[in-house]
């Protein structure tokens, strides 16, 4: 089926000037990996033929809260091809946290490679190692584990007052962010309070979790992993297995989708432990069920929001009390909670705010990083609340927002980095016009079987770690080769979103080389300069800026080298399309020049740069949704959609749109269908894609897109992030549209048919 592609909005003044001069940036350059991926010739780890390695299958806990009393592996060991059964006895005894990237970070270390104290159904008890995957799977089913079971805690509100699930670990972590004069006197103000629940969500990357580990000829532990942070994988492997960092080599393997699900370190320690123990290469793979129940999820949240406003809609005060369910282990759970709080001071001008976040544990799949890192959850809580406020004030919710949105250059009242060239107002105003908002908003409702409504939501997200407790810097080297091609060596992690292509465009623009002639490496801890990781919406803004500055540095050096060779001043040396011109006369191609510089100057044409960002501006997105609700069946169709995004500058507009289409799809899933459900004993009830429902192509609306390109200072060619923000406002926009269509105040996501019919009171 074809979806309408919208034209990219004409760029603003700054962009327009640049646009004329740009050759590769701002163009729909073909992705470097597209042909192999389309033709099925792009090999992922799972495509490696069996053989050459042993295959491991995890033994996962069948109880949600308990203790392992005994393990009988005799039946498993009888099966021909089984090499070894690993159990908690083989655990090195070092607890770790799957998101800690540096030893000084204080997040609780509560996880073990193999545990005898399982805290959720799917916790790693052990593993079976065999000559082939089927034998390993068969044998793992035959390992008999006896448990002593304890009462599990499933509900996050109950979890707050339950005794610690793990001995010595506080059951609740509380954090607070506030500014202003505290809560205003309600007198003369309009107050609206709401509680929004967001679900635990499976990332649903096409590729299930997988990892390959082996000990190299020189004794170096080598781990190939489809991950997002090679240096964090290295840190955790060295920590858990007691190895020096320089004897741990982590290679970023091709990723078949991550969305944050592969940001946490989950399989690598177990896989490496087995490879070291047996001195054989080991491949550890999960199937879909295991990936759903035993990796990570989006954090489920309960967000209570109270907003005070003047009768003209001016926001005066807001208090947010959020409960985050991090599941069985902390991982980055409290980081998610605090990241939620940090977003709340960067979208509207609110004189005074209090955010209190409580992270708590339940006996369910651990939460972790997931596209937006808390942002979709907090925006669901606050943007749905704002619509309730608009309703109470009798105001158009778009106008209520326009009254309060931030302006370019605004400070963050909490003292976090300023907002930068914040263009959320343009997103909203242009979007209202394109979506015909005012007319469609008035037309909503009805009493028939099919009821229509429109809704919108505004949102903000970051660009890296600058101004947070976490380090943010990156190193890269760039070299022009003797054939005129170039290599950008950096610790990248292509996650399928086009990072490598975008970097090639940036470098190609500066050096005037077609992007396909630039090879951009992915991460390898033994050979790449340090990089924080392809996370936190930092790659375009931070890594892209590094690539740009480095390319300019190399270009300058190249010019100086040519000047030295030919005795010319730099101003007379020009580059065009891989060719050197001196005083406008063609001189030679880059390759020949590189050889000459090597021979005559004993120098290479290349350089190295460590780059650290000096800002962390906000990206913005405003989504508009139209829905049609079937009042008989409770089914919702999103019938029209517009996404307006402040991206600074689209390095590759088609890839930017690709991110938005996918982000919208995930966001609609969060609003309507996606939810991991556990029974009272903690067993997951929908651990398959047959029972866990994603929004699929036939249910997707046409997605119209407006890109606001007003240049973000500090970003490469003015560009900033899109990958995470593209899914941040979606769910809230869809929920607001449904509430408009039905005249309801639904807040329990996802809005399943059952919940919708319940709200329509047909279940009486």
């Amino acid at each position: 089926m074809t979806k309408t592609l919208s034209p990219v909005k004409e760029p603003g003044i700054i962009g327009e000037k640049a646009e004329r001069d740009l050759k590769y940036v701002g163009r729909d350059v073909r992705r470097v990996d597209i042909e192999r991926k389309i033709k099925g010739r792009f090999n992922y780890l799972a495509d490696l033929p069996p053989g050459g390695s042993l295959h491991a299958r995890l033994i996962l806990s069948k109880v949600a809260n308990g203790r392992v009393l005994s393990i009988d592996d005799s039946k498993a060991l009888e099966i021909p091809g089984v090499i070894k059964v690993f159990t908690p006895v083989d655990d090195p005894g070092v607890r770790f946290n799957s998101q800690v990237s540096m030893p000084n970070q204080e997040d609780f270390r509560d996880e073990k490679i193999f545990t005898d104290r399982p805290l959720f159904v799917g916790d790693r008890i052990g593993a079976v190692l065999a000559t082939d995957p089927r034998t390993a799977q068969k044998a793992a089913d035959l390992v008999k584990v006896e448990y002593e079971t304890c009462e599990p805690v499933i509900d996050p509100e109950q979890a707050l007052s339950s005794s610690p699930l793990l001995e010595g670990r506080p059951q609740v972590i509380e954090g607070r962010i506030s500014y202003g004069d505290g809560e205003a006197d309600e007198k003369g103000l309009v107050a609206v309070e709401s509680v929004v629940r967001t679900p635990k969500i499976h990332h649903a990357a096409l590729e299930n979790h997988i990892c390959l580990a082996y000990v190299d000829y020189d004794g170096t532990l080598t781990v190939e992993s489809p991950c997002q942070m090679i240096f964090t994988v290295r840190h955790i492997l060295a920590q858990t297995l007691g190895l020096p960092l320089n004897k741990v080599r982590v290679i970023k393997a091709p990723v078949g989708g991550s969305f944050g699900g592969k940001q946490d370190i989950i399989l690598e320690p177990a896989c490496a432990l087995m490879a070291i123990e047996t001195r054989r290469p080991v491949r550890l793979a999960m199937d879909r069920k295991e990936t759903i129940i035993a990796t990570r999820t989006r954090t489920a949240t309960i967000g209570r929001v109270k907003t005070l406003a003047r009768s003209d809609g001016t926001l005066v005060f807001r208090r947010m009390d959020v409960i985050s369910d991090t599941g069985a282990y902390l991982t980055g759970g409290h980081r998610v909670t605090m990241a939620m709080g940090k977003k709340t001071s960067r979208l509207y001008r609110i004189p005074s705010q209090v955010f209190v976040g409580k992270t708590t544990y339940t006996n369910t799949t651990p939460s972790g990083a997931c596209r937006g890192f808390g942002s979709p959850q907090i925006h669901a809580a606050t943007e749905i609340n704002l619509d309730f406020l608009a309703k109470k004030l009798g105001m158009d919710p778009a106008l209520l927002r326009l009254k309060n949105l931030v302006y370019p250059g605004d400070a963050d009242p909490t003292g976090a980095p300023p907002l930068g060239n914040a263009r959320v107002r343009e997103c909203l105003e242009l979007g209202m016009e394109r979506f015909d908002w005012k007319r469609r908003y008035r037309m909503a409702g009805g009493t028939g079987r099919y009821r229509r409504g429109v809704g919108l939501a505004c949102s903000t997200h970051g660009n890296g770690y600058y101004g947070t407790p976490y380090p943010d810097f990156t190193g890269m080297s760039l070299r022009v080769c003797e054939d005129g091609s170039a290599i950008l060596n950096a610790g990248f992690h292509e996650l399928g979103n086009g990072t490598l292509t975008a970097m090639a465009q940036i470098v190609g623009e500066i050096l005037d080389i077609p992007p396909e002639k630039i090879y951009v490496t992915e991460g390898d801890t033994q050979h790449s300069p340090f990089d924080t990781g392809c996370i936190a919406s930092r790659v375009t803004y931070v890594c892209g800026a590094c690539a740009l500055e480095l390319a300019e540095k190399v270009k300058d050096r190249f010019i100086r080298q040519i000047g030295k060779l030919y005795g010319e001043i730099p101003e007379d040396i020009k580059f065009e399309n891989g060719y050197v011109y001196i005083k406008d006369k063609p001189c030679s191609d880059y390759g020949t020049m590189v050889i000459e510089i090597a021979n005559r100057l004993n120098e290479e044409v290349g350089d190295f740069l460590t780059y650290k960002p000096e800002a962390n501006p906000a990206s913005y997105g405003v989504h508009f949704a139209e829905v049609e609700v079937d009042a008989f069946t409770g089914l919702v169709r999103v019938t029209d959609f517009l996404a307006a995004h402040d991206v600074g500058k689209a390095i590759n507009p088609r890839m930017v749109k690709g991110q938005i289409y996918g982000g919208v799809q995930m966001g609609i899933g969060m609003a309507l269908t996606e939810e991991m459900i556990y029974d009272p004993s903690g067993r997951p009830k929908n651990a398959s894609l047959g029972r866990y429902h994603l929004v699929n192509a036939p249910d997707m609306p046409d997605v119209d897109i407006i890109l606001v390109e007003e240049n973000e200072p500090g970003g490469p060619f003015g560009g900033k992030s899109i990958g995470e923000i593209s899914t941040v406002p979606t769910a809230a926009a869809v929920v607001n549209a449904i509430n408009r269509a039905l005249n309801t105040q639904l807040t329990h996501l996802p809005l399943t048919p059952e919940r919708i019919l319940d709200a329509l009171s047909v279940f009486v």
Binding site: D141, R449, F632, H693, N696, D699, T752, P753, L757
Partner: protein
């Protein structure tokens, strides 16, 4: 695990005649293969039916449309015969799973697998189709779809039997209808489905056959709604009472199920859609 792939019916009969109690029949495999992958420890003696051409035949035979058990959903959707003679069967087939599933999944498999949420059984019931079950000695027995017992299918192969074909009566139908409610519009398993057929005599509805699927192990006949349709002439029919009658069937069938409140309401969505179709033909 063993698997054999007979090329024709006589080879199949021979295999079934070997008297092995663990034999299992494999059709499109859209459920069975998933099960096998998830349970590598299970030992199976499989008979793959997909090589037998005779089981894919779709043709008119006397007063029946004969459809082989191995006809795929895609075959049904594509067949001019099925579309013109039994429209709702083609519609139901077109709504099953994804394109990949429709290319593999078969009519016989959908019935024999015994899933309560299967889409084809209510259609067969509404069309008053016959299941033709053949045994290893070539003898055939027929079962009216409405009277079939899904438990019976679980042990077919062990008893030396297989589903040979389905016979759909070709009598004049003025309307045949199928619709379902799942969690989304396509690639979805039915939470509830509805199949219907009837004849018209002037403005009277005759011989209505209305079945609800995904409520019980086998489709349930909505007798309350049927009798309402036949009791009056079309101009006296009230949609609300028709929808309420459907709800009553749901309440009666699954009074204690947690899903009852939802299904009792959602069935009205299916009923409303059927009603719109009825109004068009009655006029």
């Amino acid at each position: 695990m063993r698997a054999r792939r007979p090329r024709d019916l006589s080879e199949l009969r021979k295999i079934l005649g070997s008297g092995k109690p663990d034999l299992k029949l494999l059709a499109g495999g859209t459920d069975l293969v998933v099960h096998l992958n998830a349970n590598p420890g299970e030992d199976w003696d499989l008979v793959d039916l997909t090589g037998i051409k005779e089981l894919k035949r779709i043709a008119v035979e006397g007063p029946f449309l004969e459809i082989g058990a191995l006809a795929t959903f895609q075959d049904l959707e594509d067949s001019q015969l099925v579309r013109s003679k039994t429209a709702c069967l083609a519609e139901a087939a077109a709504m099953v799973g994804s394109c990949q599933i429709r290319n593999r999944g078969t009519l016989g498999g959908n019935v024999a697998n015994g899933s309560a949420a299967a889409d084809i059984p209510p259609v067969l019931c509404a069309l008053d189709a016959l299941l033709v079950i053949e045994s290893r000695d070539g003898n055939q027995r027929t079962v009216r779809a409405e009277e079939a017992n899904p438990d019976d299918f679980k042990s077919l192969a062990a008893r030396g039997e297989f589903i040979r074909k389905f016979l759909v009566p070709l009598e004049e139908r003025d309307l045949s209808f199928f619709d379902k409610v799942g969690s989304r519009r396509a690639v979805t398993v039915s939470k509830l489905n509805l199949a219907f057929s009837c004849k018209l005599q002037g403005s009277r509805i005759e011989k209505p056959r209305l079945f609800l699927g995904a409520l019980a192990p086998w489709p349930v006949r909505a007798v309350e709604a049927e009798s309402l349709l036949t009791s009056v002439t079309s101009k006296d029919l009230a949609e609300t009472s028709f929808l309420d009658a459907l709800s009553k069937t749901v309440e009666k069938t699954i009074p204690d199920r947690a899903s009852m409140p939802y299904k009792r309401q959602a069935v009205k969505g299916l009923g409303n859609h059927l009603w719109a179709n009825l109004l068009e033909v009655i006029r």
